[in-house]
Symmetry: C2
Subunit: 409 residues, 2 copies
Amino acid sequence: MPRSVRFRKVSGGVTAARGFSAAGVRCGIKSNRRALDLALLLSDRPCSVAGAFTTIKAPAASVKWSRAVVKKGVARAVVVNSGNANACTGVRGERDAMAAAIAAAQELGLEPGHVCVASTGIIGHPLPMDKIVAGILDATEILAPDDEGAQAFARAIMTTDTVEKTIAAQTVIGRKVLTVGGSCKGAGMISPNLATMLSFVTTDAAISPGMLRRALGAAAGRSFNCITVDGDMSTNDTLLVLANGAAGNARITRPGRAFDQFAALLEFVCIHLAKKIVRDGEGATKFVEIRVRRAANDADARTVAAAVANSPLVKCAIHGGDPNWGRIVCKAAGCGAAFDPDKTRLRIGGALAYAKGVPAKTPLSDLEAAMKGDEVHIDLDLGLGRGAATMWTCDLSRDYVRINADYHT
Amino acid sequence: MPRSVRFRKVSGGVTAARGFSAAGVRCGIKSNRRALDLALLLSDRPCSVAGAFTTIKAPAASVKWSRAVVKKGVARAVVVNSGNANACTGVRGERDAMAAAIAAAQELGLEPGHVCVASTGIIGHPLPMDKIVAGILDATEILAPDDEGAQAFARAIMTTDTVEKTIAAQTVIGRKVLTVGGSCKGAGMISPNLATMLSFVTTDAAISPGMLRRALGAAAGRSFNCITVDGDMSTNDTLLVLANGAAGNARITRPGRAFDQFAALLEFVCIHLAKKIVRDGEGATKFVEIRVRRAANDADARTVAAAVANSPLVKCAIHGGDPNWGRIVCKAAGCGAAFDPDKTRLRIGGALAYAKGVPAKTPLSDLEAAMKGDEVHIDLDLGLGRGAATMWTCDLSRDYVRINADYHT
């Protein structure tokens, strides 16, 4: 990201960019009578679309459908339901995902192939299609290009999330103001390579599908692919970006300064959304950043960062505010990456905890202080090469267990 | 294991086999004033010794020392301390491990190179050598070849364990009664390829170091390498087997019927000890067996079994008694092993939960019943090849978090 680029945060989420309207309604999938569970997003003109999806070998029906839409590169609308993942539902599930796209297309006057779908919620139950269709009709009626529409959209995609996750920001490219905004959901089953994470980003930038795909790939690699709550990937992970060109900028069709600026803005928005997911991790009380530097290579750095980020022992220690650096070193030494205890340095919140095979002389009270706040920064210098990686995660609390043990199939 | 082989369980642990005596004392490492923390094991004659150790890249000093002893194949004694792992302690730690072996050797009239050492407990603190040496003297005085000695030994190696873990069994080989007995400790940081697990097995079988190593490798692969509590490997994992030949059988020096019988008995004892560790997993309320069959190959089967066994989401669902088969299928589909939803069958406690891409018609109440007991059996048939693997684990409870968040560095 060029250092000179500056962004301005603005209100609105998926409707911050010109030409987008959104809605969220209750169609009756969730048992909570006040919970919204169907969201709709519409652009007033065709969009370039790019996406990233779960790499699981049993993807949900919605993922298969939206992947096909993204492959063609053009979309105008997205239908999302929460409360039911439409995963492990076989042929019937695929028919239902298609039916949802068709219902929205008919209602909005679009081609079905321009409607993406996404689902999140319980696995293995057929979608209640009558409710979905009724919800699409209701949502169409209240589609709004304002904060209210964006907020209802953000609420309607939530499952175990405790807060809506929304951001929008602007930059100026060639005298044109470009806006990128988005909303996401996800709190458990969060892991690199996406996870039970749905994220919808809209922009009024004019950009070709190919360049949008390229910008999204880079942004996802530095945002959603850096977060983990529990190491579990889901059947439904979906990240979509729609760019409708309403900003009127010269269409971005190749690398260059305009592309770099747009890509940086997209990355800014994606990082913001990804961090919001970690902060809202199931039962989370702390945000944890794990930076691994000077690993033998980038792959090793990522292996170490992910191993530390997913270690229940490390996450429990962080929850308890215990500077248990031994567990961190242990995890780094045992995960398979190249490791030499005599070359390793571990800092917690800037305080040296371990260096050259032995504990550092830093007073325990300093290390304890570094573990006390809402944010914990773990910095592992492996002293071996140039590999680097960063992961964001949260602590592991009794509430994580409560939420996931009491969840009812 | 030949089906004809029958074993008889007997009392006593590490002292069940002839010629072994043991002791456990309090030397003052642990803060709990009633807790034993130093254990001693002695054979009245030289033993063939074999071992398996953590594969972590920062092993504790005790592991380095004992590995060297095992390499030579002969040992007579083992000194174990709990409460301090002597890990991440640098050169000083290595000197201390050697000093403990020398102190025991002097007191018992042995060569230091015939004394193994093992440590478990907190990482990064130097061993209190004055206490260790005093403890060795105390333990030497009360060494006993009976149940009392074995029980004190079993108690003195415990850390967060809530119960002693001991077993002994006998078989008859060529008219001679052979005994194998052992004790182990471990409750958290348990993962395949050993884990914070110490296990000591004794036998009066006459067997060469090479054949003992071979029998141990096979037994460990089907026992300690099949258990996981939290996927964390430790710096100190140690499994030792000492065979002193006091049974008077024809020394086993090559494959054959006698070797097979001995290996089966050793495996029986190791499986028993390994399962005890899982049942006593930190916060565990349920024992979970995960069997994967018809995977593309054995490595894939193991990947799937380990992924399911280490999934916090799956473990929380089991804790809550929730037949959340979706989380199990998800984990199997997302762990990187070959997977085809349409060929996969999942059974929980024998009841079909998922088959051919969709939920089975089994009533939810039947699946719930299968999750209710102390033992949960998960059976995944991937329908792809001949690969198979079994893992044993436990559920993830609020108490796991409490134990590991409140632990003090």
